[in-house]
């Protein structure tokens, strides 16, 4: 199946090995920041929206530059385009959330809230577990926060916890990535990334419903 991509699964996993080793201990920092983001949404405080937006912005820009442009682009030229889009997503988080202060995140015990919470937990805990079950081993695995697919799933989850409405403009690039990453997951036999398109569909449906209910 990977004949449709310009690289093999072996080369893809080897790239993750090199990337993860090159940026160590970034994965640890990413988990710490992820927990801060999640806890800040579970128990919001003054300025928590700006902090969450800043962290998400940093994660998207990091993935755009460090992963896509500096590493993935060695295997596929299109990674430059992916990197540009990831940086753009980071800048949108910065402008919308940090500079304009228009992002508020708060967990609510409704369908959108629980779905969002489940997606964030999935990205942090279940996603790496699926890789392990599939026989992948550190460091040849996409890691939370510093790899695009779990970041996109985590972002879907956080955007479903945005109040009072899910900001649809911040869903566009993660949705595009879900299409790209999901197809690559199929071609490269990466079972954990198959969750990406499923998360995208779920997030989109929940976001529309949440926003429709918010209008009432």
């Amino acid at each position: 199946m990977s004949r449709f991509l310009p690289f093999s699964r072996d080369a893809f996993l080897a790239l993750f090995e090199q990337y993860n080793e090159a940026v160590w201990p970034a994965p640890v920092v990413a988990y710490a920041l992820g927990l801060i983001v999640l806890l800040s949404a579970l128990k919001p405080y003054r300025g928590s929206g700006r902090l969450i937006a800043a962290i998400l912005a940093g994660a998207w820009i990091w993935n755009g530059v460090a992963y896509h442009m500096l590493h993935f682009a060695t295997l596929i030229w299109a990674a430059w385009g992916f990197g540009f889009l990831f940086v753009l997503q980071g800048l949108m988080f910065l402008v919308t959330g940090l500079m304009r202060g228009r992002l508020t995140f708060s967990f609510r015990r409704d369908a959108a809230g629980w779905t969002g919470f489940a997606l964030t937990v999935f990205a942090m805990a279940v996603y790496p577990l699926i890789g392990t079950i599939a026989g992948q081993a550190w460091p040849s695995v996409p890691a939370f926060g510093i790899a695009p697919c779990p970041l996109a799933i985590f972002t879907f989850g956080m955007l479903l916890m945005a109040e009072p409405r899910a900001p649809l403009h911040l869903l566009v690039i993660p949705l595009l990535w879900a299409a790209v990453g999901g197809s690559a997951a199929w071609l490269l036999d990466m079972p954990q990334d198959l969750a990406l398109p499923a998360a995208a569909v779920l997030a989109l449906a929940r976001a529309f419903r949440k926003n429709r209910l918010a209008k009432m």
Partner: protein, 310 residues
């Protein structure tokens, strides 16, 4: 798989076939090197090239991983040890050019190397930078063949390539396409432009090139490089589970790879095929097609009938 000394009867056959090819005005001649390596002449110059080269799509795009690079060194080493010549790549293939350059630096004897790459950008000015970058990545001061990849902005790049050839910065220039696409445009270029090589897809199932491109190449004296001789591996998926026909031994095919490759390179207008692989054992199988007997027209038709019956 050991290198087989050529059977005198085989040599006679090959030389006879070469004479027939020349007499028919089909351009490239059949020839057997003393070692038994099958080669064919580049029509423009008569320079002899081994019939089997090496492509690098996917297979050499391994980034900076030391283990994968070391494996590719072994693959390329096996290629040269079995008499391989043309290595083909492209800036489109990710890190392939860089990895090829790394491998060439690790191999003591690359004497048979015929270095071929491509220019692939919609901007003429960037094409120059790209070709210079390819020289740096391969560690080559001059490519043997520079091609315009998939006809992208071909007229602008052709101006650059003609100038480079006139200056001696490249020996041959050419155009490529694949998947059987844009054959009409390729034919127009072949008929009107001063190029040396063309590259397109040809294999036992994808034979559209037989209608126009291959005869035109012979008529115009153009070298032909066959890409996707295994249809990106799909031929193995489709036919690999079936046994080779008994008569495959009559054309010295010990496996399906040699069957597919010998079909492609036995067309009189073909100069070489460039299968890609990341495995030494597969490279040895591929290079086996560069030895022994090749199918004649009747056997080629039989090969088609056989795979189409499976």
């Amino acid at each position: 798989m050991s290198r087989r000394p050529i059977d005198p009867r085989r040599r006679t056959l090959l030389l006879s076939m070469g004479a027939l090819g020349l007499a028919a005005g089909l351009g490239p001649a059949w020839a057997a090197a003393p070692s038994g390596l099958l080669r064919r002449a580049v029509p423009r110059t008569g320079e002899m090239l081994p019939l089997i080269g090496m492509g690098s799509w996917i297979t050499f795009n391994v980034g900076k991983d030391p283990a994968l690079r070391a494996e590719r060194v072994k693959v390329l080493q096996a290629f040269f040890e079995r008499g391989g010549g043309m290595v083909d790549s492209s800036p489109m293939y990710g890190s392939s050019e860089e990895v090829i350059g790394h491998c060439l630096g690790q191999i003591a004897d690359t004497g048979g190397l015929f270095a071929a790459t491509k220019v692939w950008t919609p901007f003429q000015w960037l094409g120059v930078k790209q070709m210079e970058e390819s020289e740096r990545l391969w560690g080559k001061r001059r490519f043997d063949l520079m091609q315009v990849h998939n006809l992208l902005d071909w007229d602008a790049h052709l101006e650059t390539l003609k100038a480079w050839k006139a200056e001696g910065r490249v020996r041959y220039i050419g155009m490529t396409t694949s998947h059987g696409s844009r054959h009409a445009e390729m034919a127009e270029i072949m008929a009107t432009q001063p190029i040396d090589f063309v590259q397109f897809t040809y294999n036992v199932l994808d034979r559209e090139a037989e209608a126009r491109l291959l005869p035109l190449a012979a008529e115009r004296g153009l070298g032909v490089i066959v890409n996707r001789p295994f249809q990106r591996g799909d031929l193995f998926d489709r036919f690999g589970k079936h046994p080779l026909p008994g008569w495959a031994a009559e054309i010295d095919c010990a496996n399906w790879a040699q069957f597919f490759l010998k079909f492609a390179v036995s067309h009189p207008a073909v100069t070489c095929a460039i299968p890609a692989t990341s495995r030494v054992d597969h490279m040895l199988e591929n290079m086996g097609a560069c030895y022994g007997r090749l199918p004649d027209a009747a056997t080629r038709a039989r090969m088609v009938r056989y795979v189409e019956s499976l």
